[in-house]
Amino acid sequence: MRTMMQKLREDVRLKEGLNACMGCGICTAVCPAAEYFEYDPRSIVVTVQSGNEEKIRKLIESDTIWMCGQCMSCKPRCPRNNCPGLIISVLRRVSQETGAFVKSRLGRQQYLILKTIGTNILETGYCVYPASVVPETHPEQGDVWKWIYDNKEAVYERVGANLDKEGPGAMRKIGRENLDELERVFAESGGQTLFTSIVEYSRAYAKESGFVDANGQPDMEKYTDFLLNEDNDEK
């Protein structure tokens, strides 16, 4: 069996992101996420640098690695040319591949993100697609968004967008040909494999946690509700 460290090292981004860390803390100092969470990119780098299997396993099973916003502000600051943001990308990939992500609350949200942004990209070509930002599931968007959502055709036309229509312009319909190409990019780059992995581990976790239908199969709608409420409980 491959060790955690081997799995991490297989990713070229680890080589790019971790030369040698002297623990100065400049990454944590500049990190926007560290201002809001109990989060310290320096200690993540130190853990990976230590090569300690147990600590790395705990890390990829934790909420910690999902707190990074991938802004990469750490990269231009590091005096040793490391990039903690890239190291975290690698930890996330290994967490997705091995199913460790289901062991933390923020990790489990991978399933929600896949269902929203992931599905949007492959089906519409957009990360954020207006019709899928349903006001009921996005209360944080407020009343104004609800009004825009209800009147989207008129509003998007008013601001000069070309919502869902053929031809040029913002929010235009992305053609089948381009969507097929996007799908091939996902297949080639390993994105599709990660999607499959996230779905399968999430289904297994849903089943294990008792979210099943009459046939004993995972009930992903119930599981989705659970994930949404799990998030709300802590707020």
Binding site: M22, G23, C24, G25, I26, C27, T28, A29, V30, C31, A34, E35, D40, R42, S43, P76, R77, C78, P79, R80, N81
Partner: protein, 344 residues
Amino acid sequence: MIDKKHIAIIGGGIAGQEAASVLTGLGYKVTILEKNERMGGMLNKWSKLFPDFSSSQLVLDAVKVATDKNLNVICNADIFSVQKENGRFKLSDNSSLDVYADAVIMSTGYNLFDATLKEEYGYGVFENVITSADFEKVHKSGEKLTTADGKAPRRVAFIHCVGSRDAKTGNTYCSKVCCITGVKQAIEVTQMWPECEVFNFYMDLRLYGSKYDALYLEAQKHHKIQFIRGRLSEVSERQGKELQLKAEDTLQGRPLRMKTDIVVLLIGMEACKQNEDLCRDNALELDENRFFKSKNIYNHRNSSTQSGVFLAGSCICPMSVNESLESARSAAMLVDKSLKVQER
């Protein structure tokens, strides 16, 4: 015959002058070539020395070479070429000056890191961000350190490793004297303003000299200076020109935000840019940090990669005043040895 041999010394700082005084003492003819108007080099910019607060003038006066019939000093001589010609060295500057010598000592010293390159620290942008060299200038003038609008600072932060140990500035080496300079200057601030809170932001405190750690103890014990282990990420200016610092207190493992009136950047030492010119017409080489490369760093530290050319002081690597003087005496003895071998 010693009195027929002529040695050229490039750089009239403390190392160059110390080497000259040893060599004239042995009876050699020596010419010091100084690029500036006056001798003394970088030490002219410093007020008090670590670790015992002696005046730098004390050292400058002590190294001043006694007027000697064998000594020739040429100022405003910006040497850019050293060539071997018929077994001797020909040194030329931009004017018509040519000096011939049997041996050469490089004592070109160092440059201070240009703090404006570290843009995120705001030097040259925010008036209350100064460098350690600026601090020395204030101290030397006899004035007290104040904010740009003349107020007494309530809080001063010293930032270590500015332009040192930083791949982003191209200087991955440690300048090694800045740590103790930070401790010294922090104490000097509290001597000026006993009520002022003083902080040092460091990565590692490299207090390598025999009496340096005692100064660190004194700083903490008697002057209540705080030491925070974390590298400064950025400085921003608030209303009223107060400064806001972002760092991590790595020993506590949490981000730290601090308001301060003045920030002092402890700028590192860099090799002189002219060193590249001085290598062009001979076998001299620079090392990976752009300082002169020694033949070997253990027992031939003062020998360059060009036979007949010797190295003294901080053109080899960052050095303190004492190390620079010792290095200069070693270089001078090596010149003597090598010329005597030639004689036989």
